[in-house]
């Protein structure tokens, strides 16, 4: 089975050179929740590397995208505020959302993965309805 998700420094860490999206979260963020973000990425066929740092969601997302070979990063802060940043857009996160529910965490993963592929973001209500159309 391919490795789709790994924590930096952990046994399951992804190889350094693997093209992946980075997720940088507050240390209080649980692995169970990180796996929800990863499932959104994996369904789109994009691996996710996870690391923890302190900061606001936009700072964490910026940190994450600069470490990503796909130039897309996700940051989630202690208040469960989520942000997706692109290396090319350096003045602010490209997308900011509340990341308080499992559905939203998976959506954030999926949105970041689709952006790394140059595909449009699936509407959040459609994601919940699972009707599959863009």
């Amino acid at each position: 089975m391919n490795a789709w998700f790994g924590r930096v420094g952990g046994r399951d860490a992804l190889p350094d050179n693997k093209p992946s999206i980075w997720l940088v979260t507050d240390p209080s963020f649980e692995e169970r929740d990180a796996r929800l973000v990863a499932s959104g990425c994996e369904e789109e066929g994009v691996p996710l590397a996870w690391d923890v740092k302190s900061g606001s969601s936009s700072e964490l997302a910026r940190m994450a995208c600069l470490r990503s070979r796909l130039e897309v990063g996700i940051g989630i802060d202690s208040g469960h505020r989520g942000a997706i940043a692109l290396v090319a857009v350096n003045d602010a996160p490209y997308i900011e959302r509340d990341a308080g529910t499992p559905a939203r965490l998976r959506w954030i993963g999926q949105a970041a993965a689709r952006m790394s592929k140059g595909q449009p973001i699936i509407n959040e209500t459609q994601r919940r309805g699972m009707d599959g159309h863009e």
Binding site: M115, M130, H133
Partner: protein
């Protein structure tokens, strides 16, 4: 000296030309344009007329509501009215007992073909060694649990050939299995998938489409079908063409059939009597019958059918708007265009669509003078200005078109509007032949909306009007001609990765339509314009050309709102060049482009018609 306003009430816009007339000298002061309010030729037009005239007055230095500064308003003569543009679906695919799932989830799982018997996922643990099964998984099951259950079954030597699931979990499930199997996900109505039936699932590799289930003979081989049964399965195979994943299930009572909806017959009355044509025979047959009945006196639809209802609706609407009895409303022209209409498959389980054949019809009702006279009287009363109904629209258009530098008779003018395509031909001696034909910009909109599967006409108008692009990154787009443009500021995430329309001022309008790409929208848009405008240009010129021979026309000037389109004039110019005709967009009075031809013509003709103008000759 008199101030005269020529006002052209069109199907989409009301245009004004304001001029000062002294003897035979005409000085144009300003123009105005506004959206037409209500259906052309009805009293509802007055609001749009006020707005258009007000704009011209303001531009000429008067107050916006200083209508009394105008001595005479000249309206175009009894505008012919397009009653309706409708789409008649001729075929429909009906599935009974849910035997087909052929949709395109964004991310199906795995790859390959799997054949087995459908089984509820919760019953998978009861499957025995050697059984070939395809579990059907409801959304309540987590992907980890599904993968564990399928892996367990595989370890017990149960042949789990494929998986059908409701959630968007196809890739997640496959990534957790010991071997790759095809998984079709996002099947919304999973409860309608029949259980205990022989089933085939196919998922193609990324970038490819299903090849087995889109071929009727492969389906016949898989399900051991007789030649008669194979014939029945053809609509299924047809509906699955182009999908990345597909499922076909064979049920004892299951049936797929292609129903031909009785669209009805058209009865066309001409000088040689009545001819009948069936809408199902398609656009070409209908147009040939129209030509055979030329000049058309009236058209009826078969009572009790789609087209019969449509014709009656046109008559009733027109009658209500104009107070002319239904029996006195005559349909003088009709343009039919073959289309492919995405229709929801009746009985499908995943919102499947099938491309069905259809015929779009645009209808033109014969000119009546009475409503325009009534409109003129009402306008006169409301504005306190003398109003007269001027010349015939196509006649006025040619007078306006002759103000284009480099144009002199003999010349033909094509007035391409929203509702109708009008043509006129002026000989060297000044005599004019003219025609009004059904079908123009509005019909293009109808075809675009229908072929791309949506109903909002504003969106269709935008697709017709603006070129396409694909947003390829937060900072750049690729336009439909392949050129790349960069932006200084990051584009909105809502347009990221999407096909969008490029409006003026670089505004991007994303197209939120399922399964579309730039090429599909572009080809639909161009085909609709070709089918309506190029076909009508030839039809119209044939009717006004000397001896009905297009080759005897040397020069054609294109005017009207649709002549401003970014590609219609080039399409027509290109086609007409094959007949040795010089064609191009007009430039009315060297300043207005192709717009304002009829309004300008109304002003110009006022000195010839001896209109009663203060101080006029």
């Amino acid at each position: 000296m008199a101030i005269v306003a020529g006002i052209d009430i069109g199907n989409a816009t009301t245009e004004t030309a304001l001029a000062r007339i002294e003897g035979r000298n005409i000085t144009f002061l300003a123009t105005g344009i506004s959206a037409t309010t209500g259906i052309k030729g009805t009293l509802a037009n007055i609001a749009g007329l006020r707005s258009s005239l007000g704009m011209a007055l303001e531009r000429a230095g008067f107050k916006r509501d200083e209508y009394k500064a105008v001595d005479l308003i000249r309206l175009n003569h009894a505008a012919p009215v397009i009653g309706d543009v409708a789409m008649e679906t001729v075929t429909e695919t009906i599935v009974t007992e849910s035997i087909m799932i052929g949709h395109n989830p964004s991310t199906p799982g795995g790859v390959g073909v799997g054949i087995g018997v459908t089984i509820l996922f919760s019953d998978l643990s009861r499957a025995r060694e050697g059984d070939s099964v395809i579990p059907v998984v409801e959304a309540k099951h987590d992907y980890e649990a599904v993968a564990a259950g399928v892996s367990d079954a595989l370890s017990r030597k149960v042949n789990v050939a494929a998986v059908i699931c409701q959630s968007d979990d196809g890739v997640l499930i496959v990534n957790r299995l010991p071997r790759v199997i095809p998984v079709v996900d996002e099947v919304s109505a999973i409860e309608r998938v029949p259980l205990g039936m022989r089933c085939c699932v196919e998922v193609a590799a990324p970038g490819r489409v299903v090849s087995l289930l889109s071929n009727p003979y492969d389906i016949a081989s898989l399900f051991e079908l007789s030649p008669e049964e194979t014939k029945q399965i053809v609509p299924v195979a047809r509906a699955l063409v182009g999908n990345r994943s597909a499922v076909v299930i064979r049920t004892p009572l299951g049936e797929v059939r292609e129903r031909r909806i009785p669209a009805g017959e058209l009865y066309i009355l001409g000088p040689q009597g009545k001819r009948t044509v069936n809408v199902e025979d398609g656009a070409e047959a209908i147009q040939n019958t129209i030509v055979a009945c030329s000049p058309v006196e009236n058209i009826f639809g078969q009572p009790g059918t789609n087209v019969g209802g449509m014709m009656e609706r046109v008559r009733r609407t027109m009658s209500d708007l104009t107070d002319i009895p239904v029996g006195d409303i005559y349909i003088q022209d009709l343009l039919a265009v073959d289309t492919l209409v995405p229709q929801k498959v009746v009985g499908g389980v995943a919102g499947e669509f099938s491309l069905e054949s259809g015929v779009a019809l645009a209808i033109m009702v014969k000119t009546e003078e009475l409503p325009m006279q009534r409109l003129a009287r009402a306008t006169s009363q409301e504005l306190g200005v003398e109003v007269e109904v001027g010349g015939i629209e196509a006649d006025m258009a040619i007078r306006g078109a002759l103000t284009t530098p480099g144009v002199k008779p003999p010349v033909a003018v094509l007035d391409l509007g929203a509702g109708s395509s009008d043509a006129s031909f002026m000989k060297t001696d000044g005599s004019v032949t003219l025609t009004h034909l059904a079908g123009a910009g509005n019909m293009v909109n109808t075809i675009i909306a229908s072929e791309l599967g949506f109903e909002e006409m504003e969106l269709a108008e935008a697709i017709k009007r603006y070129p396409l692009c694909k947003v390829e990154s937060a900072f750049h787009i690729r336009q439909e001609d392949g050129t790349v443009r960069f932006f200084d500021k990051a584009l909105d995430p809502g347009v990221f990765g999407r096909v969008a329309l490029l409006h003026e001022n670089d505004m991007l309008q994303p197209l939120m339509l399922p399964g579309i790409n730039v090429e599909r929208v572009r080809s639909t848009r161009r085909k609709a314009k070709q089918e309506v405008f190029v076909k009508n240009a030839l039809r119209a010129l044939e009717q006004v050309a000397p001896g009905n021979n297009i080759r005897l026309v040397d020069y054609v000037v294109l005017v009207g709102g649709s002549a401003k389109d970014f590609e219609i004039p080039t399409m027509i110019t290109d086609t007409l060049s094959r007949y040795g005709i010089v064609a191009g967009r007009g430039n009315i009075r060297s300043s207005e482009g192709p717009r304002n031809a009829v309004a300008t013509g109304l002003v110009l003709s006022s000195i010839e018609s001896g209109s009663r103008t203060k101080g006029g000759s």
